[in-house]
Structures are given as structure tokens and as C-alpha cells.
């Protein structure tokens, strides 16, 4: 029944090294289907930490996180990997493409891992994603032959390959100039409105945040609004 893609209930986390410092204090939030949500806040307010907990990559926390209705707490690493593969797309501040592979293969890898489609279909779908992002001319290039903005667009194409429920971004425009930032923002907006996929983007760019559907402001490990 729930149209919430992501449900977060009272998530807390502390760093223990060298002294115990709480970074998240009972954070609760929901992300609905097709919603474009941004998280902002000062540096060190815990917004990135929260994102990595939601991404299932960080399992050291208290509270409950449910993705598509499935509580992720206590799941084995292999199941979490499956969830990441199938339901979550990632875009990082730094492109994080694999330099050994071609642009096309980079986009294809999560799709091949999922194994829902044959290799030819995955390749076809990857080309489609690249075309949507106007990167299809560069498909056969090696990843490090691209500019920063181009790499980020490829990374977005990769995050979309498995039609994930939610795309998470950690400062996806943090490393880009304003023109490329605008391009990325427009792509995200398009994804949310056209494909009904949710977006959860951590950013310290207030202009970027202001243009999203909803902005969650964090301070000192708490959600302010």
C-alpha cells in the first residue's frame, strides 16, 4: 500500500574513534515514489553519513531503514548487495567510473550483474540510457578520455541501468561547473518526472536544493525541517 520507497525510523549513529561522537540522532524521514528530495546542511552535520546508511553500504547504526518495504537491518551482505544492485542507483561526487572498461561497459556492469536481461539487451538498454543523456557518441571511449561533466553523465546512466526505485547522489554536482550542474539537475528532474523514480541527493549547493521537490535540512545529526 505504501508509496514510500524509503522509510527511515529513528536512525542514530555515533563514531567511536577516538571518543564517542554522535553524528546522527534519531533521524526519521520518508521518500515517496517519484519524489526529488535533497538533503542539505552544514559540513559535518551528518548528511553524507545518513546517505551511506540509507544506501545499505554502512550497516553500523541503530534504528530502522526500509527500502521498498523491506527492512534492511540485519540482512546478510549478499542480500544488501542485491538490493543495491536492483533498487538503488548511485551517483557520487567523483565520477567513480572503472578506468579499465569502456564507457558502455561501465554502464552495463550493474545490469550484467543483475542478470535480468541477456547481454545483448543490457547493451541495448545501456545505449538507450547513454542516448538519453546525449553520451552515446562516447560509448566506446575509455572512461578516462571524458571530461568531468561527461563522466558524471555516464555515472548517471550507470545508476539508471537497472531501473532502480531510488537514485542516491552524494554531492553529484559538487565537482562540476555551473553549466554541467544545470545539465545534471535537469537530468535528475527528468528522471523523477518521467520515470517516476525517486531521487535523494545530498548537496551543499542551496540553489540546487531549492529547485528540488522537497529539501531536508540537517544540523548536528538532526533533521530540522
Amino acid at each position: 500500500m505504501s508509496t514510500n520507497v524509503l522509510e527511515v525510523r529513528k536512525v542514530s549513529k555515533s563514531f567511536h574513534d577516538p571518543v564517542t561522537v554522535p553524528v546522527l540522532r534519531e533521524v526519521s524521514l520518508d521518500v515517496r515514489r517519484g519524489e526529488f528530495v535533497s538533503i542539505t546542511g552544514k559540513s559535518g552535520c551528518g548528511k553524507s553519513t545518513l546517505l551511506y546508511i540509507l544506501s545499505t553500504m554502512d550497516t553500523d547504526y541503530e534504528g530502522e531503514v526500509a527500502i521498498d518495504g523491506e527492512a534492511t537491518r540485519g540482512l546478510p551482505g549478499s542480500r544488501l548487495a542485491e538490493i543495491r544492485n536492483e533498487k538503488i542507483g548511485f551517483v557520487f561526487q567523483f565520477h567513480y567510473l572503472l578506468a579499465e572498461f569502456s564507457v558502455l561497459k561501465n554502464v552495463m556492469l550493474p545490469g550484467l550483474k543483475l542478470g535480468r536481461y541477456s547481454e545483448e539487451e543490457v547493451e541495448h538498454r545501456a545505449m538507450e540510457r547513454l542516448r538519453e543523456l546525449d553520451m552515446h557518441d562516447h560509448a566506446m571511449k575509455s572512461a578516462n578520455q571524458l571530461s568531468g561533466g561527461q563522466k558524471q553523465r555516464v555515472a548517471i546512466a550507470r545508476s539508471l541501468i537497472n531501473d532502480p526505485l531510488i537514485i542516491m547522489g552524494d554531492e553529484p554536482t559538487g565537482n562540476l561547473d555551473s553549466r554541467n550542474s544545470d545539465i545534471v539537475f535537469d537530468i535528475f528532474k527528468h528522471i523523477a518526472s518521467q520515470h517516476r523514480q525517486s531521487l535523494l541527493v545530498v548537496t551543499h549547493d542551496n540553489d540546487f536544493a531549492a529547485r528540488t521537490d522537497r529539501t531536508i535540512v540537517m544540523d548536528d545529526g538532526r533533521v530540522l525541517s
Binding site: 551511506y52 553500504m57 551482505g77 549478499s78 548487495a81 544492485n85 579499465e100 561497459k105 550483474k113
Partner: protein
Amino acid sequence: MKLLLSIAVTLLRAKLRQSIVAAVGVMFSITMFVTLLGFMNGLNDLLDGLILNRTPHIRLYNELQASPRQPIEYGTDSTTHAFIRSVKPKDELPRLRNATAIMDALEKDPRVLAVSPRLVAQVFFNVGTVDLNGQVNGIDVMQEIRYYKFADYLVAGDPQDLATGNNTIVLGKGLADMMEAGIGEVVQVTTATGERTMLRVSGIFQSGIADYDKVQCYANIKTVQKLLARPGSYYTDINVKLHDLLTAPALAKELSARFDVDALDVQTANAQFETGSDVRNIISYAVGMVLLIVAGFGIYNILNMMIYEKLDAIAILKATGFSGSDVRRIFLMLSMIIGVLGAVSGLLGGFAMQNVIDNIPFVTAALPTVKTFPIDYNPKYYIIAVTFALLTTWVAGWFPARKASQVDPVEIIRGK
């Protein structure tokens, strides 16, 4: 699985030079391992063959020994005194009693490969005024050619000549040189009982053991019987060759008890050869294993370095849905690819090296039949080498692979 393999191959190709170095390390050690063991065992076989080819697995004979019951013991009665006078030696010969019956029995035994009689006679060769000591072995020539490679040790002359000819002899090389006797010449032989016979030299024999060749000669068993003026059933030894060499000691005991003769098995007679072979084997295995372990460390190092360089890639693979065990498999495959490529090329290299050694001339007076270095092409060594190489690379890959699987992607991604 196919996907993981293709990722492994791509990573490998990105680090082609290092991967080749690692594979060459494995290749080199396998090559050396195979070459070393092939060569060592070739030599072992050659040296063992030097003795074992010529030696029966069991030799039945009569040892001349003191009578177990001395004359004085015939009168051991505490109440009487015994006086013994003029005890004359009995003319007992080192012949095997009932030799024909023993041979018949042995030939029916399923464990026995071949039975051949011998008649050994001590003789003197008269060269001018000098008498040279010699031992003539009367042999069944056809049996000896077949089972003891007699023909291999003839450096001159035709063994058939010995088999068919009367009054012919094959001299040891050392003996022939001392007498300056060539093929077709006639030598004069005096037996221990003083009988003289002229024998024609039909061949020269070289066993590879110089002292042996200075004394030993061979003749047809009939010739020796005639020389000693003994009947046709007169044999001093029966040589037995078995199907399984290892059963010799047990069978020797059995035959000794059954026929009331002395029996000497090859293991007892030549214990030093087994020991020598074993020690050489242990050394070559040890060296080979060490080479492989060193190659394993090479793989371990290269994979470790690769993992440090590829932390980003590992993090991104994990973030996009590859699990820890997927990552571990990728790096294990990487290691195994290096291992398999190294092992296969190592086997080819080893085979090539064995061939090269096999063709290096190795001529020595001691070994008339050997023209090149000996090599044992036993596939056993190839199988051992591959098994151990794959095991080493698997272990060498496992630790770095486990480390890769435990990489925390958050740490890498946030650390940037």
C-alpha cells in the same frame, strides 16, 4: 560467473606487464621443476639400471661355508673322550643340487618373469708368462639378451655369435685391453683344476664398472660346462627376474626355505642405490617446491599491489551491487588465470628444456649405451607440478582476495 571472469580478465589486461611477470614467475618455477625432476630421475634410472639391469632380482646359489656340525660334535658325550684324526675335505662343489627341478618349479610360479641358469667358473687367462685372473660366466645367451639387456653392453661383436658358437667368449673391456685381444683372436684359459682350453673372442663387453670389466667374461653355458668337464645340468646360480621388483625380499626368503639354497634379493645386494635415488628425489622435490612457493609469493605481492591500486574499482563494484564474495571471486580468478597460464607455459617450457637436455651429448667410457643426457619424461612430474602450482596460486590469491572482499566501500568513497 562469466561476468566476474570478464571483469577479472579486464583488470588483468590493465595490469598486463605485472601479470606477465607473475605468470613468468610461475612458468619459470614449473619449467625448472619439470626439468629438474625429469633429469634427476633420468639419471637415477640410468645409475640404477647400471646395476639393476645386470642384476637378477633374486639369485639362488650355494654358499660355501663351514659345516654347521663340526666333527668334534659327533662325539659330544660327557662321559667319553673323542679323538679325531685325518678329517679329509669332502669334494663339495658350489653347484646347485637339483637345479633343473628348481628351474622347472620357478618357471611355473606366476610371480616369476624369467629364470636363467648360470655357471660361474674361476679361470686364468694365460698371456705369455703371465696369468690373469678371470671369472667366466656361463650364461643362457638368449635369456640374458632378453631379460638382462646383455646386448646393450656389448661394445663389439655379435651376441648371436656367442649363442651359437662353440668355444667362444666375450671378454670384459678391461680384460681385453690387458690381453690386447681383439675379436676373432684366440685366448688360452686355464681352469682351477688345471685344464687348458683355447677360446675364440667373439665380443667385447663393457658394463660401466671398470673393476668388473677387468675380471668378468661371458661364455655360453655349454662352453663353460665343457671347460669344467661337468654335465649339462651343472649350474652354480639360478637368476630369477620377477614381475614386481618389490616382492623380491619376501620371495627370496620363501625360495631359500623351499629349495634349501641361499637366496639373495636385489634390495639386500644393492641397498645403497635405493638410498641414493631417494636422497636425489627428495632434493629435487624440495628445490622444485621452493621455486613454486617463491612464485606464489610473487603472485601474492602483485595481487596485493593491484588491490591497493584498485580500491576505487572495488568500492564502485560493491556500491553497484557486487557482493564481497563476488569481489573475492574476481581476485581469486585473477590469481588462477595467472597460475594456469604460468603452469601451462611452464609445462611446455619444461618439456622443451627436457628435450634440450636429452639432446646434449653425454659420452662416457663408463656408459657405452648412453650417448646423451638421460631424461625421464614421466607425466607424473608434469601432474605434480601443475597440481602444486595451482594450489600455490590459489593460496597466494586467496589472502589478497579476502582482503579485497572486506574493503569497506564507504571508507573509500567518503575518503576521497
